[in-house]
Amino acid sequence: MIVGGQSLVTSPPVFSHDGKKLLVCTGCTVSVFSTTTGMLITELEGHTERVTSIVVVPVVGKVGTKFSYYCWTASLDGMIFYWDFSTPDLFKKVNVHLPVHSMVIPNILSASLGSTNKASQNLYAFLSVEDANRKVENVKHLCGLIQIYDLTNSTNVGSVLAETHKPETLAVSKSGEFVGIKKNKQLNIWRVPNKNLKSVNMKKLKLHHTRTLSCLAFHPTKRIVAAGDVSGRILIWKGFGKTRYSQDGGGKMKIDRGDMPGVIDRDDADSCSTWHWHSSEIKFLMFSSDESYLFSGAKEGVIVVWQLDTGNKNYKPNMGSPLMYFTDSPDPSLSCISCEDNEIHVLRMPSMDIIKSISGIKPPLVLPELQGDQSCVTIGCDRSNGFVALPTKDYRVQFFSLLDGTDISHLQVIERNYDPVEETTVYVSLVEVSDDGSMMCTVEEKLPEMGIGGLISLKFWARGSHTGQYTLSTVIYEPHNNAGVSDVAFCPGRSMAVSTSYCGNFKVWVNNFSSIHSGDEIPEKGGWRCQSVSSYKGIPMTAAAFSGDGSVLAVAAQTVITLWDPLNNVLVAAIGDSLGPIRQLSFVGSSEYIVSFSAGTKADLVVWNISNLCMHWSYKLLVEDICCTRSGTRFAVLALLSPLDKSISTGKDGIVLVFDVENPIPVSSWFVKKAKGGRLNFINNKLGEATDGKLLLAYINGEHEYILFDPSDVKEGEDYIPRAARRPQSHAHDENVSHGYASIYGELPSFDLTKARSSDNIPFVPSERPWETIFSGSSHALPPLSKLCSPFLESLLEKAEKQTVLSQ
């Protein structure tokens, strides 16, 4: 079983101390990527729920101490783990018992410093946890708690610092002096005392604003805090907490309204200025490491660089997607930005050029409105190569390899500039890849505005020299006049395709290679043209499928399945009624059966027999997707469970069933999560040595996470293959890339301590009065300085003593 497709952008990623590795929360695991290659190095596996925050232990002083690759991770399963992520090894488990939504360790710098001298102070973590029990009891639903936790002794420290409606994200200043959260329209800031940390002597400071705040950031050194609100404004409080934190008792503040411009509600700050450029909620704020700039980002996909002193702004590249987090690294020339489309870009800093992109599977396309029974966007699948083609928001198709879990390529389908702020009016609604992956068909829809100017077009693509590279072959505008395309199917083994439409006809398209094929540089002329148009009683056509040998074309006309000879365009037969309009149909391998399902109130799954043109067996199931093997008699069904079912409580709302056509009893079944909008596909197993042509069943859930499993294997989740083990360790060599001093001057000759100690072999007789002998002998055979020094100093003392004795 292979699991993959987790979102890379659920939580902010963290750089390792040298900026060479990037730790990314991917579901229950933490993936460690190399920033130079963008490849996965290793995964930290241990948490059972989503990992929410990572804190890398900073390295102070000499590089290469044993603490160089240590980190703390917190997860929703209520555990905090301590890892060495270079090996990776799990060292310590701390159970908090409550789901941790955010964790910061303000004194990690001093604590790790102190770790060298043993009498160190304890490591305290500030946790933002969710207490589900409070939700039930309390009327105000203050279920988010801010707590302090002693990681060294695994105990809670004191009481709750703050209560919030929902768990908030904690922010910490670089020095570890301040910890803050946003709480509706105010900021809560605590100053962390250097020693004797107790929740009693934590002083809370509140800063108020008139709008709901969305994020905050502390200045690395000065007492400046920046906060963004939902309307896109950025507020900068300078010199906060001067009175509050200066006086010991926290007495009444002396306020002079005159010299506190912009500060409201008697807040404890020198000044508050507001900057406004973004039009929507600020997603992140980050002060630059040289303390003179502030970065902000929002939905527009543009990083705005504000000069702190003047408020002048500069704009950095359009990332083409709403931004999520901005993380800087200890290496000042590196930082990374997380985008909403599941992509992390590593940026070279002053210029903000993208060096590398770590790209995950694209999130599902959210369409503005679903018209009638038009279901959500379909996913194409190249069975032979094991990749899926997913339409993305920025008018492209992403090719994603399920077996490797890597992004292969992107293809611009609609030639339009993508603007993340705009609502979706143009989108790729259908992607279909032929079985061998040599042809692809996309359908794009342009929604009309108040009935003006909608457009549907069909595009055929031909594969280029390698997988995932396609070139446009033919564009067909308005293939079915004004009506939408419901389904497209390719004929196996022939360059023929069929498109069905809601206006009641279907068209068979053929590709005519008319020109002479000579040389690579001459593009093939000819293209796809309509061979025939047919309709069945004017009923809207909803689905189409070719039989395995391509000789029979089955088209669903609402509840009836019509069988056609695709070459001669002759209706062969029509098979009876299903309960509802058929959503999808498929030939079961090489057998004489067709399986179809319909959705809606009369949802059912039906297996039809072509030889006697009747229903074979059927189920009353709310089916989401079906898929059949090309040979054999098995097919897989993804069904949604009704909400009344028991297993819903575990979060598993769907079931994958594998059937044999002859038998209505399923061969095997799995419960799966997030089945709404999920997809099933059979792909060829090309993994490692197991190239026995075995098929894997790929289940892609509604959030585009996927699981690959062996359909013949009944056990669930037994032989989990870690992702890192599945691919060659291609990053290995670039770990040795020298940097800093070594990159300029080369490696220093290794300093061999044993060589220095070789002088131990020299006969050396300790005596009561060593200073008499230590300097005797040849100079090259003198003992080391460490040995010489203390006796010599002692000798000086001795003489002084003698002198004192003499003087007495």
Partner: protein
């Protein structure tokens, strides 16, 4: 305020291509520089003898002044001057035909005339196996037979002087599979290979780089390269043997001497001789047997010309491996020659006709013989650029790149049209107005569609002031019934009239003129539908109700 230049590709709003009917105009013949070169030749044809006997071989003298053609029992010599200055009366007037300047007497069927490198001697083969060498007396006397070389027992089909300045030597080969290098003064063979091939030798070519190297092609499908210096007695073996795969009809060294072109069957193949006979390329464009090959000078390039039984002459660019031109003749072609001056092209057919083309226009270069053997000259190595010149170091920013320099171009600045620029700034109404002012229907439609995609069209329409509304209305009223934008514009017209009814009513005469034209056009269109009998499909149009003029 707009963000920085996006790093990704920028798509301008494209003209609405999808709605326009594609133009059906047939493209005229593709004109390439090569085809325009060949078009400067003035074609004509003539028949050297009254008999319809095949022209087996054609050859130009090195200074291009003479053309030798072999057909039946004679080798006829034409003065190229008489060819290039034809009489004002073209063929078929018999007087105007180029008449042979001399005829070489041969006892039997004549084959393969070959000029010596200085043009002073001509040699020809004969069906009975003898090879004869003639000279040209200048004052119009008939040519004299200087030498008779007798070694072949069958027809000596291949006779050739070496290409380099080696005047006392001659190669010959024949149907008896014998290959001989002759010493002319003494009439004795220097180098003899009996049984050089296992079948008739029908093709041969001297090397352009060595006077001792000769290639022969035979009907036993092989091409062999002989070097007279490697004489190992009676059992002389070839330096190189190449299997062409078909009976070889013609062999030709390309100017560098490193490549060899062979013709046989329907294919012309190129071989790398230096690499030991490695196949380089195969030209398979002829439909019947390729009979002859020659080199031609096209402007500054050299082309390989091949003629075939299928009547085509093809020009092949062997530097790009591409057939660049082809010409069709009404008869099977057997021989081809191209004058070293690059001005005359002659093609011999199997029915006794010679087709020739004479270049009419002369460039400043052409018309003069550049070197004695133009095609065979090995290009001089280019002078390496010297960096000693002080000007090289003083060259500034304005320095123009010289021919051999690799130019790194600046990334081209994206040129955006006015409406694209405004659309990028989200100034939707301004973009619409600016594109309406251009009066380009395709651009206007593209911007309108883009506005629809951005959900801003209705807002734009309601924000237009009266003058701008007039612009929009005039556009709609002009184009509303153009088929490819009618659907869009009709819907748009409905909305415009609905939203801006008040402004139109109070807008004055100009506005009402537009609306009236629109109404008239729609009425006309509806009438058209009714006349065509498809009244049922008429779009319901609410113009009458909303605009009572």
């Amino acid at each position: 305020m707009m963000a920085d230049e996006a790093s990704t590709r920028l798509f301008p709003t494209e003209p609405a291509s999808h709605l326009r009917p594609r133009s059906r105009s047939v493209k005229s013949l593709v004109s390439t520089p090569e085809s325009s070169f060949w078009r400067t030749f003035c074609s004509s044809s003539f028949q050297p003898s009254s008999l319809h006997l095949p022209i087996t071989s054609l050859s130009f003298s090195p200074d291009s002044s003479l053309l030798a053609s072999a057909s039946s029992t004679s080798v006829r010599l034409f003065s190229s001057l008489s060819l290039s200055n034809p009489d004002p009366y073209p063929y078929p007037y018999p007087d105007s035909e180029p008449t042979p300047f001399a005829t070489l007497p041969l006892p039997d069927l004549a084959y393969s005339p070959s000029f010596r490198c200085d043009g002073a001697l001509i040699a020809a083969g004969c069906e009975n196996g003898s090879v004869r060498v003639f000279d040209f007396p200048k004052n119009n006397k008939s040519p004299k037979t200087l030498r008779r070389l007798k070694a072949h027992s069958c027809a000596s089909r291949v006779v050739s002087f070496p290409l380099l300045d080696h005047k006392l030597c001659l190669f010959s080969a024949g149907d008896d599979a014998l290959f001989v290098q002759w010493d002319l003064p003494t009439e004795t063979p220097l180098f003899t290979v009996p049984g050089a091939h296992r079948d008739y030798i029908r093709a041969g070519a001297p090397s352009p780089v060595s006077p001792d190297v000769f290639a022969t092609g035979s009907y036993d499908h092989t091409v062999k390269i002989w070097d007279a210096r490697v004489d190992s007695g009676a059992s002389a073996s070839s330096v190189l043997s190449i299997n062409h795969g078909h009976p070889v009809e013609s062999v030709l060294f390309l100017p560098s001497g490193g490549l060899l072109a062979t013709a046989g069957g329907n294919t012309v193949k190129l071989w790398d001789v230096i690499a030991g006979g490695k196949p380089v390329y195969s030209v398979e464009t002829h439909n019947k047997t390729v009979t002859a090959l020659t080199l031609a000078k096209v402007r500054d390039d050299t082309r390989l010309l091949s003629v075939s039984i299928d009547g085509y002459l093809k020009s092949f660019d062997f530097s790009r491996f591409k057939v660049t031109h082809s010409m069709r003749y009404p008869a099977p072609l057997l021989s081809v020659a191209f004058s070293p001056t690059g001005t005359i092209r002659v093609v011999g057919t199997n029915n006794g006709l010679i087709y020739m083309g004479i270049k009419k226009k002369k460039d400043e270069f052409e018309g003069q013989v550049r070197s004695n053997d133009f095609a065979w000259s090995v290009p001089l190595p280019e002078k390496p650029t010297t960096r000693k010149n002080i000007r090289y170091f003083k060259r500034g920013q304005s320095e123009k790149p010289s021919e051999g320099d690799f130019v790194i171009k600046k990334p081209e600045k994206v040129k955006l049209k006015e409406h694209d620029r405004l659309l990028r700034k989200f100034l939707h109404k301004d973009a619409l107005v600016s594109v309406l002012k251009t009066k380009q229907t395709t651009s206007i439609m593209a911007v309108l569609e883009e506005l629809v995609a951005r959900r801003k069209l209705i807002k734009c329409i309601s924000n237009l002031d009266n003058d701008e509304l007039g612009l929009l209305l005039s556009f709609i009223s002009k184009k509303a019934t153009v088929p490819w934008c009618a659907r869009f514009l009709m819907d748009l017209a409905k909305w415009v009239l609905e939203i801006r009814a008040e402004d139109i009513r109070s807008g004055g005469t100009e506005m009402s003129v537009h609306v009236r034209t629109l109404r008239a056009m729609v009425a006309h269109e509806i009438q058209g539908y009714v006349i065509l009998g498809s009244g049922a499909t008429v779009r319901t149009f609410t113009l009458e109700r909303r605009a009572p003029y």
